[in-house]
């Protein structure tokens, strides 16, 4: 390092950095808050429909899911839920790894987290977008009509 590299006295902190640079930590912070608000609606809607009304844990089965996902609105709902919740959770876990793990262990964990998240995002998206509600038996009258028409 030569003397020319030393900033002038009293120059503002980080002024030598390019301004308006994309700051990933800032956007992560904003993402946690925006996704959090949306997830309240998405998750409680999901839990209410599946566990309270019209669903309940004792009647959940493939036919119930097929009847639900025959409606594209629920496919979009689940896609939003999948992407927002998984990225929110993964970004939160990244914070915890950075807090508690050090050195090589941290690097390994961060890569494992990233890989798991990417695989599950792709797989979950494929499951929801290629699902065929006519694959199995159902006693849902509307579904039988839709599937017979195909």
């Amino acid at each position: 390092m030569s003397t020319e590299n030393i900033a002038a006295p009293r120059s503002p902190y980080l002024s030598h950095r390019k301004r308006n640079r994309f700051n990933i930590e800032k956007w992560g912070w904003i993402y946690m808050r925006v996704s959090g608000v949306l997830l309240v609606v998405l998750i409680f809607g999901h839990l209410f429909y599946n566990l309270i009304f019209p669903g309940k844990v004792s009647i959940l089965d493939w036919a119930f899911v097929a009847g639900k996902l025959a409606n594209p609105i629920w496919i979009v709902w689940d896609l939003l839920l999948l992407w927002l919740a998984l990225i929110h959770g993964a970004n939160g876990m990244r914070t915890l790894i950075n807090d508690y793990a050090h050195g090589r262990f941290r690097t390994v964990l961060l890569w494992a987290l990233g890989a798991t998240t990417a695989v599950l995002l792709v797989m979950g998206t494929l499951v929801l977008t290629t699902f065929d509600p006519c694959l199995g038996d159902t006693d849902n009258a509307e579904l039988i009509k839709i599937c017979a028409a195909q």
Partner: protein, 145 residues
């Protein structure tokens, strides 16, 4: 601070009473509600994350075969899993309500001052949520309704 300056037996009237020891003013994350809500937020967030990993895998069975999916979702109906679902909903409820509290603290000028009140509001709403959910859910699990 207080222990060092112990007042003599009968202090002159002018010496002020030693101040009671307390946390530095304006602390949000050290001690009491601020700290415990942070600990709970971390624990619940981590638990939900691991549930979500498994949950995306079990849901993917809908694409493979109805029989495979029904076999796995059947385990959700056992008593032990039923209690697990209560724990999961309790964790989500707490994380969500406290998450909204964090957002209010960051977004509004009155947020940091109201953080302690908002913590207890969140706990109150959480209890209401659980009263609404738990008895019904346990009836579905144990009554088989």
């Amino acid at each position: 601070m207080t222990s060092q300056a112990a007042p003599p037996e009968s202090p002159p009237a002018s010496v002020p009473e030693p101040r009671k020891r307390r946390l530095p003013a304006g602390t949000l994350y050290r001690g009491r509600e601020g700290m415990w809500s942070w600990v709970l937020h971390r624990i619940t967030g981590t638990a939900i994350f691991f549930f979500l990993l498994v949950h995306i895998l079990d849901t993917s069975l809908i694409r493979i075969s109805p029989e495979a999916y029904d076999a796995v979702i059947g385990t959700y109906k056992t008593p032990i899993m039923g209690l697990g679902e209560v724990a999961l909903v309790a964790a989500i409820g707490l994380h969500a309500l406290n998450g909204l509290r964090i957002i209010c603290i960051d977004m509004f000028s009155w947020g940091p001052k109201a953080q302690r009140v908002m913590f207890w509001v969140a706990i109150g709403l959480w209890i209401v949520l659980l009263i609404g959910f738990v008895p019904r859910h346990l009836m579905h699990v144990f009554g088989g309704e």
